[in-house]
Assembly symmetry: C2
Amino acid sequence: MKIDKLVGERFKEKPSDCVVDSHALMLRGGYMKGVANGIYSSFMPLRRVTKKIENIIREEMDAIEGQEVQFPVVMPGSLWAESGRYDSIGSELLRFKDRNDIPMVLGMTHEEAAVQLVRDYANSYTKYPFMIYQIQTKFRDEARPRAGLIRVREFTMKDAYSFHTSQEDLERYYAVCYDAYNRIFARCGIPEVVTVQSDSGMMGGSISHEYMLLTAIGEDSIAICKDCDYRANMEAAESIIENKKHEDAKALELVNTPDMHTIEEVCTFLKADVVDSCKAVVYQKNMTDEYVVVFIRGDLDVNETKLTNYLGENIHPAVITEECGLNAGFIGPVGLDTNKFTILYDKSLENTNNLCCGANKVDYHYTGLDISRDIGEVEYLDLAKIIEGGICPKCGKHSISISRGIEVGNIFQLGTKYTKSMGMQYLDSEGNLHYPIMGCYGIGVGRLAASVCEVHHDDYGPIWPMSIAPWQVQLCCLRADDEECKAVSDKFYEQMLADKMEVIYDDRNIRPGAMFSDADLLGVPVRVIVSPRNLKEGVCEIVTRDKEISLKVELDKVIETVKGIIADRLK
Amino acid sequence: MKIDKLVGERFKEKPSDCVVDSHALMLRGGYMKGVANGIYSSFMPLRRVTKKIENIIREEMDAIEGQEVQFPVVMPGSLWAESGRYDSIGSELLRFKDRNDIPMVLGMTHEEAAVQLVRDYANSYTKYPFMIYQIQTKFRDEARPRAGLIRVREFTMKDAYSFHTSQEDLERYYAVCYDAYNRIFARCGIPEVVTVQSDSGMMGGSISHEYMLLTAIGEDSIAICKDCDYRANMEAAESIIENKKHEDAKALELVNTPDMHTIEEVCTFLKADVVDSCKAVVYQKNMTDEYVVVFIRGDLDVNETKLTNYLGENIHPAVITEECGLNAGFIGPVGLDTNKFTILYDKSLENTNNLCCGANKVDYHYTGLDISRDIGEVEYLDLAKIIEGGICPKCGKHSISISRGIEVGNIFQLGTKYTKSMGMQYLDSEGNLHYPIMGCYGIGVGRLAASVCEVHHDDYGPIWPMSIAPWQVQLCCLRADDEECKAVSDKFYEQMLADKMEVIYDDRNIRPGAMFSDADLLGVPVRVIVSPRNLKEGVCEIVTRDKEISLKVELDKVIETVKGIIADRLK
C-alpha cells in the first residue's frame, strides 16, 4: 500500500507518560492509540504484526495437534462459581449483571469454559489425550496497567488446554508444548527467551514455567544461577540459608531502645550485625483481618507469594491498631500470644542464636535470643525472597543473580483442580471413573509484539524481524517530482505487488529526512531507496533496518535481491 | 486430521429447543455448545468455517483499500456519551463499572471507537477518503436470543467505517462496498442474497441497505415487488394506499355496540367492510409515558419503526388505565382531546368517508365518519405496514409480496451523526473546517455461517460450499480391520496431506452407516470411500456431499480427481 493512505499519526516527540521504549515507539509510529486506562485500539501496522504472530502461534499449535476452538468473552458467573474462582479471584475479574440480572464475568482465562466445552464429550479414556486452544480477546481489570502493551486490561491471548488420563501423559505433552513455545518465540524473533520455574498462583497445579524475555524494563524478577542452569521466578525461587550458631551463646536480655522502630536502627544502636536480628513483618488475612506475624532474618524480605500459598488465602500488609495487641516497631517472638496471632518463622532463623528482636513493649528489645532455647520447637518455613549472591537451590553455590524480565508466555500443569471442582470424569478401560488431568498454556499476543519491539529497536523506531514485520519492504521514492525517479519507483512497486511482496510505498513529495523518519518508525526490514543521484549510476540502494545490509544494486537486480533477503530472513 | 481425535459430540436426535435446522445441525454435528442464553463456544469444525469466512471478508475488504485495525471490546461509557448513545440505546447495550467505578460498555458496534481512533489523524482533507475495519467479538444483550447463531448475544463481526469529504465520495465508495459485499456472499456460497432498502434506526443516517438471504426461518420481513426490482425491509417499505370516497356520503351517527372491543367485531356487527373502518392503536412514549393514538384503516397494522422514527423517540404498546381518559375498545377521533394525547393519522384514512370508529364512550361507536368533514384538516402520515398484494412504491402495481429473510450484512450511509457529535473535523484546501461524512458496513461471521447452513443442508447435515467447508475432503476407510483397505486409505491420507489438501480421515473401526452419518454432519464437500469391495475392482468411490458427483475412480487417479473437484469448486 501507499504510505500517504496509511491511517495513523506518526510523530517525533516521546509522549511524557511512557516509561518504556516500546510504548513510546508504538504511539509515535501510529501503531496504536489509548482508549481508556490499559485499553488500546490498534492501527493497521500493529494489527498486521499481531496477525502474523497469531498465525505463527496457530501453525505451532496445529503442529502439536491443537484444535482451534473459540470460547466466549462473556461468561455466566455460575460457570466460574463451579470452579470456585467466582469468589476466590479479586477485583481483576470483572463481574457484572446482564439485562436479566444474571451475574456474568469477562473472561481473563478460560479453564472453566474449556472444561464446560468438553466435559460431556470426553467421557471415555479413548477420547484422550487432546488439546484445544483459542486466540481471543480477554479482559483483566488490572489495578495498575503500565508500559503500553506490556500490562494492559484488554488483550488478545492464545490460551490452550490439554486433557490427559495420566500425569505421565501430561508431562509428555507438557514437554512437547515446551518445545513448541520455544519455536514460537524463535520464529517471532526472540530466540533468547528463557524458561523459568514459576509459581502457579491462582491457576492451581504445581509445576509451571514462564517464558521470560530478559530486559531491564521487565516487571518480573528472575533468579538465575551463574554456575548451573537453575532459573526461577523470584516468586517461586527457594531461599536457601546456611546458619551456624555463635559459639559464645548469650543470655536473653531486655534492653532499652528508645524511639527505635526499624531493625536497622536497633542493630546500629546495639552495634549488632543485621544478620543477627529477628525482624517481624506483619500482614492481615483479607477475609478475616486476622494478623499474621512473620519472623525473618533482619536483612531478608518476605516473599508474599510463598506466604499466600502457605496460608492458602490472600493477605495484605497489616494496619496495626492500638487495640490489636501488637506494639509496632517492637514486635518479637518472646511472649507473643500464639492464640491471638498466626506466628510464622522463616528458615533464615533456624539454628541461630544471639539475635536481637522486639520485646513486645514500647522502647524495648531483647538481645541474645535463641529461638529453640527461648521459645521452643517451632516450624521453620521457606518464606524469604531469594537474594543477589544467594545460594543456588540446584548447585548449592553462592551464585544467584537477579535479573528483570517480561513474561511472554507460560505453561502450567494444572492437575485435576478444574476437572474435580467442575465434575468432569471419564471411564477407564475397566469401567472406573477418573478425573482427567489438565495442562494449560498461554501467550499474550500484544505483549509479545511489544516485547519484540522492546529488545529490537533503536532510538528511531522498532526493528521488526521479517517474520512479524508489518511489511517486508519499504519502497522510498526520494524525489517524487523527478519523472525518472517516480517512473522507476512505480515500476518496482508494481513488480513487488505482482510478486506478492508485502510492500509499503512512499512516493510523497517530502524531504528525505522526513521520509526516513517515518520508515524508521515503521521498522520495515528491507528498504529500497530510489534517488536521481543513484539512478545516474544505474543503481538503487537496498538497506536493512538493522543495518546489516547496505548495497547499491543495479536496477534489474533489485527485485531479485530483495526477494533473496526476504526469503533468507524467513528461513 | 483423524476424526477419532476430533473433539466434540455428534449425535442423531434433534435437540428439543431448536426451532431452526442450522441450530439443530450445528449442535448435532459438534460445531458448538451453549454456554449461556445466546452465548456459545465453537468446536474446531465451526472455528474452521468461521476462519475461512473471516479470510474471505478480509480479502474483499483489503481489495477495496480497507485497513484492518482493532478496537476494544470494552470501552469507557464516556466515549459513548460523546455520541449520545450511552443514554439513547436501551438495555441491549451492556453497561457496567470497572474496579474504579468507571462506567464501561461492551461494544455492540464501534462507530464511537472508529471516530476516536482517527479524529486526531484525519485533520486535513488530504487524508481522505479512507476505510478502516476490524473483525472482533461484539456483545449485544438481546432480550430474546434465538435460532442458534442467527440471533445471539456474543458474536464475531466484521465492522467497517469509511470517512469522506463529500456525499458524492461516500456514495462512490458505498457502491464499491455494495459490490464487495455481493462478492463476499457469493464466495461464501450464497450468491442468492438480495439487497433491500432498510431503515437505519439507531445507526443514524438515511440511506442504507440490508443483504437478505430469503428463507422461511428469517426473522425479517421483506417487501418484494414481483414486477420490478423494488425490494425493501418491511420496516422501511412505504405503504401506498389508493382511496376513493363513497359517493353516497353518510352522516356521522352514534350507534350502540355493546361489548364489542375489536374493530373486526364492530364491523361484523354493523355489517361494514373493515376497509371502511378507522382503528385506534395506542402507544406510550418510553420517556414520559405520554399516550400516542394512531388512527389507521381497520385492516392495516402500524409499522412501529416508522412511528418511532416519526416521533424521534422510543415507544411501547400502551397500558390503558381508568384515569387516562381513553376508553379502551371505543377510541375514535371525534372529540378526542388533542391537548392530552398525541394523535396521528395514517395515510390509509386520507380521502375516505363512511367510516366506523370508536365514540370515546363505552359501548358506542360512530358510523359515517369523514375525517375531513368531522375533524377538519389533519396531516396524514405513512405509518402502516406494507401488505401482501399491496402497491409497489416504485412501479405502482399491486405486486408486493412479503418474504422472510435473514439479514446477513448491512451497509449504512451514516452522514455526520458521529463526527458532529464527537467533534471530528478536517480543514479543506481553503482552510475551512468541516465534519467528515461516514459510512459503515457490517457482517456477522457466525450468523453468516449459520445462514449458509440454513439454505445448504439436508436432513443429515450441512452441505458446505468448498470455500468455507471445515475440510475439503473426508477420507473414509470403510474397513479399518482389512489390511489392504487400511493401507490404501493410509496412503491416500499421506498423499493428501503432502498435497496440502484439507482432509479429515475416518479410519475408525465402526459400521459404514455410523461413519457416513458423521460425515454427513460434518458436511465436507468431497468424500473418498475406500472399501474392500471396490478395491477388488481396483477403484474407490468419490462422491460429493451435494450428490452432484458420484464416481468410481481407479486408485492412481484418485488424488488427481479430488484435486480437480476442489480446484473447480474454489473457482
